[in-house]
């Protein structure tokens, strides 16, 4: 990984690094990427990617009004603590 590529990533991640650290990070990333590249040997042709670690689907609650959060007596507005005295 060269400095142009590192600079691009730093731009995306909103990080400033010293030149010295850029060199170190380029070196570290190369080693880590070499390690994770082992995955390329795995056959995954017929596998759908996961989106999480379980097969749980969206767990939705019933769409009911929580009277603690919404006071219908005040015309259905949300009541929040006052911000200004």
């Amino acid at each position: 990984m060269d400095f142009t590529e590192i600079n691009h990533l730093l731009e995306l991640a909103r990080l400033e690094l010293s030149n010295e650290e850029k060199e170190k990070i380029a070196h570290d990333l190369a080693k880590i990427l070499e390690y994770v590249n082992q995955l390329q040997e795995v056959k995954t042709d017929n596998l759908e990617p996961m989106a999480g670690g379980t097969f749980s689907k969206n767990i939705l609650r019933d769409d009911e009004i929580n009277s603690q959060k919404l006071n219908l007596e005040k015309e259905g507005y949300f009541e929040v603590p006052p911000i200004f005295d």
Binding site: L10, A13, L15, E16, V42, E48, N58
Partner: protein
């Protein structure tokens, strides 16, 4: 231990106040060397203890955790208490609400003693990446306590609290528990609410207990677990329709089948750990417990898979930190006066701040520690245009393969037994310059996170140098309660032979 303390409290052999004082005495004696705590909450603890004592004096019934002193990892929010996640970027953050686990423990009357040290944002395996200081292993002060929940593990191990909570994204409860010789439970993904846990990698993170015994871990787990409307990924394990939770399975241990995945007993596993685990297996077999060798061929890919998915989620979760509100200006170079304003301080640098965008680069560049920056950059890379398919998508496919392999093996056996760590606690500084060698200390623990499975560390003895050794039991998704039952039985068999 919790049960004993509870009995002492209700029999009035000790007051809750005395108990809290006793723990603070131990903390005062030991923590200057071990450095497990970042913040102590003594005033509040004594107030809470007084209330418990009054209740006992009035003859009221108290719950099992009422008056029991505990510690909590610093990435879990406690209202009104500093919560830094071990990071300078949150150095002055005081939580404005309680995490669900804290609310539950408060409702039970458990007493918080303080917040424990950790690797910054839970990224590390040694607690050396803390933005503040390095926690030491109570068994050998020249060695690491493990990480990232190293402060919690050291505090429990050194008897500075009755139990603690940690978080586990790739082994961060089990690995320090193994290094410090205590029990550590990583529950099934979603079994404990993550509301109020500072996010690291949301599809992997889970909160769990670190304790002196399986029974203690179980008491705590029963209280902190459950569905929470503030965390849409949380599940209720008592609803067996949703999970494979089956208390019946935990009945007679001779009816339970264990598997030994051969891929966990490979080169690189410390000989003393291997010998100790084999000795435990022998003891279990002597009790006519069925243990068979099994194969999980994708095991070697769990760690590389983790080191793509985790940093990807890290880079996204940590995008929210701008370093403006909670980070003191003195952290940034070129500023001598704590009172000087952010802009002026950074303007003294070679490249002056001209806009907000520039400010972010500097606050984030200097507010985050080295390992956090490394993972943000790695995560940004694997998610970036042109690399997403080759890295992130590929890893999510391998993740399915790993999960399917576990599902298949759990059709043959009920639980898996593996080592928790490849080596005992290593020396401070030994791995801190080589990130990859540090990553490899999680090689046996990450698969459970990738697959959302519950797993527990059980202490099973010591090396010649008196360093604790841990054994890991992994169960099917949602089997947390039976896993704890089984672990209790194995704990008794191991203890009987020590």
């Amino acid at each position: 231990m919790i049960q004993e303390l509870h009995d002492k409290l209700i029999n009035q052999e000790i007051t809750a106040t005395q108990l809290v004082e006793d723990y603070f005495k131990v903390i005062k004696e030991k923590d200057s060397k071990i450095q497990a705590f970042l913040t102590l909450t003594k005033t509040q603890a004594l107030e809470e203890a007084k209330k418990v004592d009054e209740k006992i004096n009035r003859g009221e019934k108290i719950g099992i955790l009422e008056g029991i002193p505990y510690a909590i990892k610093d990435n879990i929010l406690v209202k009104g208490v500093k919560t830094t996640a071990g990071s300078k970027i949150l150095e002055n953050y005081v939580a404005s609400y309680d995490a669900t686990v804290i609310k539950k423990l408060k409702d039970e009357g458990a007493i918080l003693l303080g917040k424990t040290n950790q690797d910054e944002f839970a990224m590390g395996s040694s607690t050396e990446n803390s933005g503040f200081f390095v926690t030491k292993n109570p068994w050998d002060l020249t060695r690491v306590p493990g990480g990232s929940s190293g402060g919690s593990a050291a505090a429990v191990s050194a008897q500075m609290c009755a139990f603690a909570l940690g978080s586990d994204t790739g082994g961060s409860i089990r690995q320090p528990a193994a290094f410090c010789g205590i029990v550590g439970l990583k529950p099934s993904y979603g079994a404990v609410s993550r509301y109020g846990l500072i996010s690291m990698a949301s599809s992997l993170d889970i909160i769990g207990p670190l304790a002196n015994s399986v029974e203690d871990a179980e008491i705590v787990f029963r209280i902190i677990s459950g569905k929470d409307e503030m965390d849409s990924t949380s599940i209720d394990l008592s609803n067996s329709q949703n999970t494979e939770y089956s208390p019946a399975r935990a009945g007679k241990i001779q009816n339970t089948k264990f598997g030994l995945p051969q891929e966990y007993f490979v080169k690189g596993l410390d000989k003393e750990i291997r010998d100790k685990i084999e000795a435990v297996i022998q003891k279990l077999q002597n009790q006519k417990i069925q243990i068979t060798k099994k194969s999980l061929p994708s095991t070697p890919y769990a760690l590389p898979c983790y080191y793509i998915i985790m940093p990807a989620e890290v880079s996204s979760n940590l995008a929210r930190y701008d370093g403006i509100r909670y980070s003191p200006i003195t952290n940034y170079p070129a500023c001598a006066k704590p009172a000087c304003r952010q802009g002026r301080a950074l303007a003294g640098r070679q490249s002056p701040i001209t806009n907000l965008y520039d400010l972010y680069f500097k606050t984030r560049g200097y507010g985050f520690g080295q390992e956090v920056r490394r993972r943000i950059i790695l995560g940004t890379y694997v998610l970036s245009k042109g690399y997403y398919d080759a890295y992130y998508k590929k890893a999510q496919k391998v993740r399915r393969l790993i999960i399917e392999e576990f599902n298949k093996i759990f059709k043959d056996v009920n639980f898996l037994i593996t080592p928790t760590t490849p080596t005992p606690a290593f020396k401070i500084g030994e791995k801190s310059t080589d990130p990859l060698s540090m990553y490899l200390s999680d090689v046996f623990t990450v698969a459970a996170n990738i697959s959302g499975l519950p797993a527990i560390n059980l202490p099973i003895g010591f090396t010649k140098n008196n360093l604790p050794i841990g054994l890991q039991i992994i169960g099917p998704y949602g089997s947390d309660c039976s896993l704890l039952q089984i672990a209790k039985t194995i704990e008794n068999i191991v203890k009987a032979s020590l």
